[in-house]
C-alpha cells in the first residue's frame, strides 16, 4: 500500500534527524503520539505536535513516560498506528509497559534518541549505550526489533521501515537514534507519497465469534487485529494467555506463549535483516558498526584501505534481531572483527559471542559525549590484521 499523501511533506528539506523522524512517522501513517519532553528527543514530538492537526492525528503530552507508553498501547488497540518518543531516563520508565506491548503483541514504535547515561547522565550529548536495554530492558523472555539510523535522511526513511516492521510482526520496534544524528541537520529528500511503501494494519475480516487475537500455532502466522469498540468480545492481558487472550497460568501455556514471542522474531531474522556490507569478500578484518559510529568509522576504513589493508565493513541497520548466522559464517573467514560503539561494550559482546573464538573481536569503546576519533578505529584495524 502507498502512503497517504496528506501526511507526506514531499520536497527537499534541510532539517535535523529529530524533525526527519517526525516526518517519517507521519508519512508512515502514525496518527497517535503520546510522550513527555526530554532532551535530545523533544524536537520529534514538537514536529509532530505542530503537524498532527493538519493530518487528523492526536498528540497527548502525558504526565510521564510510564503513562506515555501505556497510552500508545491503548491507542493502538483502537486502530491507529502509534508512537512514543523519549531518551534514556524516559526509556527506563517505559520498560514495564514495553513488556506489556510485547506480551499483547501491540504494533508500536518507541523512539529513543540516545544520550549519555546512566541516570540523567549527559542530556545534550550523544551515546549508544541503551542498546542492551532496548533488547531486554523489561523482564521476562522476549525479542523486539531495533533499528539505528546514521543520518537525518535515514531518520525519515527508517522511521517508515520501523512502522512497517511493527505492523508486520505485531511487535514494539525500538528506533534507536543517538543525539548526534538527532541534532545533526542535513538534506532530507521526502519523496512523493506514491513512492513510499506502507504496511497497513492487518485487520480481521471474519466472523466475530471466531476471532482469536493471538496465534500460537507455530505456523509463523501473525494473528490479525481488531479495533476495540467494534463489538468484539475479547480479552487481552499481560498475564500468560491462550490464543483467545484469556489467562492460562501453567507451564504448557507459558511455553506456547513465550516461544511464540521469541520465535516470530528470531526465526525470521533473515527476513527482518537490514544491513550494508562493503568489500567483505576478500576482507581480512571487518568493521561492524551502527548509527553515527558507522559514519565516523568509514573515515578510518578509507585510511586503512589507502594503506593497503583489506578491510570490509558491515553496517547494522537492524541491530535486533542480531544477524547471528552472518557473523558465525564470516568468523571463519576473517582474522578479526572491529567493533567501535559509543558504549563500553554491548554489541561487541554479541559479535564476540557469535565469532565463538574463530576470529578475534576488538572492541573500540567510547563512554559517550562525543563520537570516536577515527584514528582510534584505524589503530584497531591495524591491530586486527597483525
Amino acid at each position: 500500500m502507498k502512503a497517504d499523501p496528506i501526511g507526506v511533506a514531499t520536497g527537499n528539506h534541510f532539517i535535523d534527524g529529530d524533525h526527519a523522524c517526525g516526518e517519517g512517522a507521519i508519512a508512515a501513517g502514525c496518527r497517535f503520539l503520546a510522550g513527555y519532553p526530554i532532551t535530545p528527543s523533544t524536537e520529534v514530538a514538537e514536529r509532530i505536535a505542530e503537524r498532527f492537526p493538519k493530518v487528523g492525528g492526536m498528540f497527548i503530552q502525558m504526565e510521564d513516560e510510564i503513562a506515555s507508553m501505556a497510552a500508545i498501547i491503548g491507542a493502538a488497540w483502537g486502530g491507529p498506528k502509534v508512537m512514543t518518543v523519549t531518551s534514556g531516563p524516559g526509556f527506563s520508565l517505559m520498560m514495564e509497559n514495553i513488556g506489556l506491548a510485547v506480551m499483547l503483541e501491540t504494533p508500536c514504535v518507541v523512539v529513543n534518541v540516545q544520550r549519555g547515561g546512566p541516570s540523567t547522565g549527559l542530556p545534550p550529548l550523544t551515546a549508544q549505550a541503551d542498546m542492551m536495554q532496548a533488547r531486554w530492558g523489561s523482564h521476562g523472555d522476549y525479542e523486539i526489533i531495533a533499528l539505528c539510523p546514521n543520518s537525518p535522511q535515514e531518520c525519515f526513511d527508517l522511521t517508515i521501515t520501523a512502522f512497517n516492521l511493527a505492523e508486520t510482526w505485531r511487535v514494539p520496534v525500538m528506533f534507536m537514534m543517538d543525539e548526534c544524528v538527532g541534532h545533526m541537520t542535513e538534506k532530507v529528500v521526502i519523496p512523493e507519497a506514491d513512492q513510499i511503501e506502507i504496511v497497513p494494519r492487518n485487520f480481521y475480516k471474519g466472523k466475530k465469534e471466531d476471532y482469536r487475537p493471538f496465534n500460537f500455532s507455530g505456523s509463523g502466522e501473525i494473528a490479525p487485529m481488531i479495533k476495540a469498540g467494534e463489538g468484539y468480545n475479547i480479552h487481552i492481558t499481560g498475564l500468560t494467555h491462550d490464543e483467545r487472550g484469556y489467562p492460562a497460568l501453567d507451564a504448557e501455556a507459558q511455553d506456547k506463549n513465550v516461544r511464540h514471542l521469541v520465535d516470530k522474531i528470531l526465526k525470521n531474522e533473515e527476513k527482518i535483516r537490514l544491513l550494508e556490507e562493503d568489500q567483505i569478500d576478500d576482507a581480512e578484518v571487518i568493521v561492524i558498526s551502527y548509527g553515527i559510529t558507522s559514519r565516523v568509522s568509514q573515515k578510518a576504513v578509507q585510511d586503512a584501505r589507502a594503506a593497503g589493508i583489506k578491510v570490509g565493513t558491515i553496517r547494522l541497520i537492524v541491530v535486533w534481531p542480531f544477524p547471528e548466522k552472518l557473523i558465525r559464517k564470516l568468523a571463519s573467514k576473517v582474522k578479526a572483527f572491529i567493533v567501535p560503539e559509543i558504549n563500553l561494550g554491548q554489541i561487541s559482546l554479541e559479535v564476540e559471542r557469535y565469532a565463538a573464538g574463530k576470529a578475534i573481536t576488538i572492541h573500540v569503546p567510547h563512554a559517550g559525549g562525543w563520537v570516536h576519533d577515527p584514528n582510534d578505529i584505524l589503530k584497531a584495524i591495524k591491530k586486527g590484521v597483525k
Binding site: 527537499n12 534541510f14 535535523d16 532532551t39 535530545p40 542530556p123 545534550p124 548526534c180 541534532h183 545533526m184 541537520t185 542535513e186 538534506k187 553515527i292 559514519r295 565516523v296 568509514q298 573515515k299 562525543w370 563520537v371 577515527p374
Partner: protein, 179 residues
C-alpha cells in the same frame, strides 16, 4: 570546508549556519552537515554553529579546526580564535570584536554588520548581513543559492528585508576584496 559561526545566543548564529548549510546542500548540490552547541552556553554566552560543506558525503560530523571562523562577539572570538588552521579565513563584526590577539597566519576580514543592520532599521538582520559578507569573501556558497535559502527560513513578511541585508553584506565584501 569546515566552518564555524560564533557569537552570543540571540544573534541568529545557529540560523546563519542553517542558511549556509541549506544553500550549499539544497541549491548548490553539495553535501552539508550542520551541528550546533546545545546547553547553557547557548543562552547569552558564546554560542556556535558548525557547518561542514563537501563535494562528497560528510562522514565526520563535528569540527575540530575550522578553515573559516566567523565571530560576532568578543567572547566568541577569544574562545575560538585559537582553533582555525593556518591559512584560514576569519570574519568579524568590526564594532563587536576588537582583536587583542592577532594571528598572522590567517586572513582577517571585518564588516560592521550590526551597524549596517541598525541602519536598515533593526539589528536583528545583522546575522544575514554577515552571511552575505561570508558569501562574498569565501565563495563557499553562491549568492543565488543563499537567496534561495531565505524563503521558509525567515518570516515571510521580512523576506524582502533579509534579501536586502544579504545583498548589503555581499556588496560590502565584494568592495573590500576589489581594493
Amino acid at each position: 570546508m569546515d566552518i564555524r559561526f560564533s557569537g552570543f545566543g540571540g544573534q541568529g548564529i545557529i540560523k546563519s549556519g542553517m542558511l549556509i548549510g541549506k544553500a550549499a546542500s539544497l541549491f548548490d548540490n553539495k553535501f552539508a552537515t550542520l551541528t550546533q552547541s546545545f546547553g547553557p552556553e547557548a543562552r547569552g554566552g558564546a554560542c556556535s554553529a558548525q557547518v561542514v560543506i563537501d563535494e562528497n558525503a560528510v562522514l565526520y560530523p563535528y569540527i575540530i579546526a575550522p578553515e573559516i571562523l566567523v565571530s560576532m562577539s568578543q567572547e566568541a572570538y577569544e574562545k575560538f580564535i585559537g582553533d582555525p588552521v593556518k591559512g584560514s579565513i576569519v570574519l568579524t563584526d568590526t564594532d563587536l570584536v576588537k582583536p587583542k590577539k592577532i594571528r598572522k597566519d590567517i586572513k582577517m576580514y571585518s564588516i560592521p554588520a550590526t551597524r549596517i543592520a541598525e541602519e536598515m532599521g533593526n539589528r536583528i538582520f545583522a546575522n544575514v548581513v554577515m552571511v552575505g559578507f561570508f558569501t562574498a569573501i569565501t565563495n563557499v556558497v553562491s549568492l543565488e543559492a543563499m537567496k534561495k535559502a531565505l524563503p521558509g527560513s525567515v518570516p515571510e513578511r521580512f523576506l524582502a528585508t533579509n534579501i536586502e541585508a544579504l545583498e548589503k553584506g555581499y556588496e560590502y565584501g565584494k568592495n573590500l576584496t576589489k581594493k
